[in-house]
Symmetry: C2
Subunit: 235 residues, 2 copies
DNA sequence: TAATAAAGTTAGATTAATCTAATAAATAAA
DNA sequence: TTTATTTATTAGATTAATCTAACTTTATTA
């Protein structure tokens, strides 16, 4: 049985790995994500290594073991299922679900997770467009572009957000955007990459920073087939 | 913000108070209920007194303050709402809900509780027949008899159980009993109070110990009016 | 390549919740 | 009303998760 804290460390390690591939994770990086001091993270890493959930050499990069990864994916599964529950069944808004799911993800009951999964009809994506691992730990991987990568004149569909912060999500809603919305890139400034986009017939200007936090799939992409342009396949 | 542990102490104090009125609670008694040593309970009581959640003199009986009581009722509200959710929506069985609700009751989000309450259509009783406090902390009090108090030849309705343990609940199901079932007391031995009861046309023998753990309302009782016999009114 | 900066580790301290063992107060029994 | 028993309290120790401050190793750069 893992503690609340141990689960959070595994989840953080997994998220960092998702973000930058197989290079392993640094102590400081992990500490930053978890909002603790490096010394604290270091202590916990020793404990996790002892339990064979992570592996690393002293002063070297940290990697999850197979069992650490499985445990981390379980936490993410629970988090995303609860987010889906809050959004679909309890009428929470997009930007409110994360905070509550941070607590709910630590409830220990395999039966609860399975029954929740069934109750929600085995959803594959959460309200932010992120894939929900199934009971086996498998998830639909989306190779996504960000809106910033889409060429002028092209249209695409928003599938997820990179930044899950409440303030960003509220801004997204304000611009009239949401998961599965079609976006047409009308124009783009050379100087600062300021974009004009069209959503549901309405034009808006969005900054590069904003565009980099919106994940899209371009309209040439087909589920199960690779994209003719850059990677934005849904497997 | 109260810790998980502090919440459990308040809940335990409240439950003991419910069970034996206004005489106050002892340290050992509390420690037993929480499965900790008296020394531990004593330390925590000091802390709760500091926070003005309980009140007592050294070596004296412990009582919840108004704010301690409110906080405790909130925990019970959450516990019973979650039990109802698990039972009604996720298809958990009667005897499984308690354990999981013990964890869920500590999730901190007023919005979540209110939305869950609404989702369940403001239930007044949980799957064990215990009243669920509303947002204001008010609950339907049932003045109940136990099955052991019902006279031979009388019929009554099961409204709750005293013992919430999984083993007892499974036994109750085996006898063919459940919340809101009509029970006719067919006969009763003078010697050991062994009862023959009839539920849905089927006769069973039940011991005194069993009968004392089944709460009933006799069929003369009317909601909102006092019972002509002993107390078993539903307010 | 030597100096500097960044990243990682260790040592020692703190807080919350728990324990055991010893002691003190209140209650029950002889 | 003493004595014995039960109940409550205190003192000192432990564990998990955290911190600060000092130190070591690795990486960067001048």
């Amino acid at each position: 049985m893992l503690s609340y804290t141990e689960e959070n460390y595994l989840k953080a390690l997994l998220k960092i790995s998702f973000a930058h591939g197989d290079l392993g994770v640094g102590t400081n990086e992990l500490a930053t994500v978890l909002a603790v001091k490096p010394a604290t993270a270091n202590d916990m890493l020793k404990k996790l290594k002892e339990k064979e959930l992570v592996d690393y050499e002293k002063y070297g990069k940290i990697r999850l073991t197979a069992s650490g990864k499985k445990r981390g994916i379980d936490v993410i599964r629970k988090h995303r299922l609860w987010e889906t529950f809050l959004y679909k069944k309890l009428d929470f808004s997009w930007d409110e679900v994360h905070e509550v799911a941070e607590q709910l993800e630590h409830i220990q009951s395999e039966k609860l997770v399975d029954k929740l999964d069934k109750f929600l009809d085995y959803p594959e994506f959460d309200p932010h467009g992120d894939p929900i691992p199934n009971k086996k730990g498998e998830l639909k991987v989306q190779f996504k572009k960000t809106l910033a990568d889409v060429a002028v004149g092209s249209s695409c569909k928003m599938v997820a957000v990179k930044d899950n912060s409440s303030s960003f999500l509220q801004y997204v809603v304000k611009v009239g955007l949401g998961i599965n919305n079609e976006i047409l890139v009308v124009s783009k400034q050379d100087y600062d990459a300021l974009m004009v986009i069209k959503v549901n017939g309405v034009k808006s200007s969005v900054s590069q920073k904003f565009a980099e936090n919106i994940f899209v799939v371009c309209n040439n992409c087909v589920v199960g087939k690779s994209c003719p342009k850059t990677k934005c396949e849904i497997k």
